[in-house]
């Protein structure tokens, strides 16, 4: 399984904190988005992380990974 997580405004838009995805149905982070976004287009400023490292839509994913999607960060 792939653990998918959403944060901040994206979490609110998605209406959930995350979802589990069968690792067989996606080979990249971009494909993970398509599987979990329920038709929502990927925002141009969307940030993505694989196992807590910044990644991009082309980054490969595999079973056991944690993939996170979130808006631009605003800390500090």
């Amino acid at each position: 399984m792939i653990q998918v997580r959403f944060f901040a405004s994206l979490r609110e838009e998605m209406g959930r904190e995350g979802v589990e995805l069968d690792a067989a149905v996606a080979t990249t982070i971009g494909e993970v988005w398509e599987r979990v976004a329920e038709g929502k287009e990927r925002p141009s400023n969307l940030l993505m992380a694989r196992n807590m490292d910044y990644s991009d839509a082309g980054t490969p994913v595999s079973d056991g990974d944690e993939v996170a999607f979130f808006p631009p960060v605003t800390g500090g």
């Binding site: 997580r5 944060f7 901040a8 996170a68 979130f70 631009p72 605003t74 800390g75 500090g76």
Partner: protein, 147 residues
């Protein structure tokens, strides 16, 4: 090199006093000629609107990882004796401290550049998000102001 993600209100100055006494001085008393510190505090206004409260969300695990990474980058780039990063999360009120970064070095140039690097890198990469409570409703802060 310390990282702290803090759920309660903190005093940046009390933390610095304690950190110098308990960590810096035993290791480096007489060696650090320079400390540069940035303290960020919650304002009661943003983009022209009054802000009455703020919720700071983060990505536990990834936050720590990036604050450590940023600290290590600064340590590799400048000749530093130590760095400290403290960041508040959760619900906070105007005038509450949000963030503290500090860099200690023998010389001032390195301390200044490293402290500036720490706060800019934190603001651009550490996974924190601010949701402001306004007099009418609330809103997510869309992006950080560039330096």
């Amino acid at each position: 090199m310390k990282i702290d993600i803090c759920e309660k209100s903190f005093s940046p100055w009390a933390l610095l006093q304690e950190y110098e006494q308990e960590v810096l001085d035993p290791l480096y008393a007489g060696q650090y000629g320079a400390a540069t510190v940035f303290s960020g505090t919650m304002r009661e206004f943003n983009e022209g609107d009054g802000v009455t409260g703020m919720l700071l969300e983060h990505y536990p695990g990834m936050t720590d990882r990036y604050l450590e990474k940023i600290s290590a980058e600064a340590a590799a780039r400048w000749e530093l004796l130590d760095t400290l990063i403290v960041h508040r999360v959760g619900l906070m009120m105007p005038n509450d401290p949000i963030v503290l970064v500090a860099a200690w070095s023998a010389h001032r140039g390195e301390a200044f550049e490293a402290a500036r690097y720490l706060i800019e890198a934190l603001k651009s990469r550490a996974p924190f998000w601010k949701k402001e409570q306004l007099e009418e409703g609330e809103r997510w802060v869309a992006h950080n102001t560039p330096a």
